[in-house]
Subunit: 245 residues, 2 copies
DNA sequence: CGGAGTCTTGAGCCCGATCAACCGTGGTGG
DNA sequence: CCACCACGGTTGATCGGGCTCAAGACTCCG
């Protein structure tokens, strides 16, 4: 745990207009409760499944994912976490993490004091509502994943996932010059979509050959949003504005 | 929309010790914002997918479910809703329902004023936290469903579902004399587990024949919790105490 | 240069989907 | 009263999407 390296007023996330702004009063309140930043390498365990975990973080930069595993090692990735997402809210509510969280790329986490949630709820009701918004949004994404895994074919799932990632990262300005660096392997994609690694590979190639996107060297480009949406059968508009906690 | 039929102090849910109690002050606050009760028949649409929906309800009695559908009609049931669950929180946060909600049995819903959420957050921080707890809990359940659908075999999924329903309803005291009336068809089970109707039927019979539970005439009994947990590969402890909003 | 991790491709098989009946029950209208 | 039908459950037969097993290629790194 490092000392606070950046004042919250200068927080990179706070500059972006996808995030709703807080009042100066709120920002200094958050600042006072910021314990520090944590930097973790790719593959690091941020939260261990089943462990007691009462710390709350905001993901400042990098990619991570939530996941659950069965006794014999089968793993399901529940959701991808991107900058601005909260880490450990669920765990905090139950005093125990019912899922694990792992870093995909190098991540920077912003850590808060143990009572931060409670302090926020007592002091700034509108920020409390923002936190609840974030929880609801994470559920919304999980809902979509469940629809995909339960009812879409492999190709449709893949189309949904690529489009989902593309739009979320585009909102966050992670797409530069039409290209997105993807810090994930095909094994991750398989575990997100409930497919085997081999079939994931073949499905991915099929969509690439159909010209729906380009993916090479860990970079995604030339995403045909309309084509993917058509293949995925039903698409929801983006959620552009979101609070920053 | 009917007039309030029962005072909140007499609310059946509030008597049960699975629900954390509120102060008298809070109860009268809720009472003042209760618009009335709605009674709907089995199969009724409580919330329409994609529609604007800014009303919040608590499910007082009966069963319902959240679901999403694809353009061609394929449907995924996301979660079962039981007494005490909130209906429409997600929809409220996004001013639009990203999933539908449908009644399984006759249901009684307790409706609140449009600003209720905001009022609660401003007035009773601890109740606001309870709402967030409920949101997190719903996500936790969806997470488990996603793990099942993504990574468990048909038999394992079925084992998970039966046990999941059994334990949730037992907590709510819906199990009487070891028997639970199940207001769901095999088609519902299929849509929860991401299976076809035919395969759902065969899987169900296989587990019955293995003596893991009895299910006939819409009643579930003789549930072998250990056997089911073993088959489902990994099981989490129950969450006994929960807030009542 | 060896080894680990990731991606790719081939071959065969099986779990679960699909198609198609049939049964029992309960409601409904002639 | 009963013919009819809708709905839920059941069963058989066949098909195919996706899994498994196996091996090879490529890249990066120590």
């Amino acid at each position: 745990m490092l000392p606070p390296s950046a004042p919250c007023t200068k927080c990179r996330l706070r500059q972006m207009n996808v995030f709703a702004g807080n009042t100066p009063e709120q920002v200094s309140f958050i600042q006072a409760r910021k314990v520090g930043e944590v930097v973790l390498p790719p593959g690091a365990t941020i939260l261990e499944e089943g462990q007691k975990a009462d710390r709350l973080f905001t993901l400042l930069s990098g990619w991570a994912f939530r996941h659950k595993t069965l006794a014999d090692g089968r793993r399901q990735i529940l959701n991808i976490l991107l900058p601005g997402d909260l880490v450990g809210l669920q765990a905090k509510m139950f005093d125990q993490a019912h899922h694990g969280v792992e870093a995909l790329s190098e991540v920077v986490l912003c850590g808060f004091t143990r009572d931060h949630i409670w302090d926020v709820f007592r002091t700034f009701p509108d920020m409390a509502l923002d936190i609840t918004w974030l929880a609801a949004n994470e559920e919304r994404i999980t809902d979509e994943a469940l629809l995909s895994v339960g009812r879409r074919t492999a190709a449709e799932r893949m189309a949904w996932l690529v489009l989902h990632i593309w739009q979320r990262t585009e909102n966050l300005d992670l797409v530069r010059d039409g290209a997105l660096p993807l810090p994930i392997t095909q094994a991750h994609i398989a575990d997100m979509l409930g497919l085997s690694l081999v079939h994931t590979n073949r499905t991915l190639q099929a969509l690439r050959r159909r010209g729906l996107f380009e993916l090479s060297g860990g970079t995604l480009r030339a995403v045909d949003e309309d084509g993917l949406a058509r293949l995925a059968r039903s698409w929801e508009k983006r959620i552009p504005i979101r609070p920053l906690f």
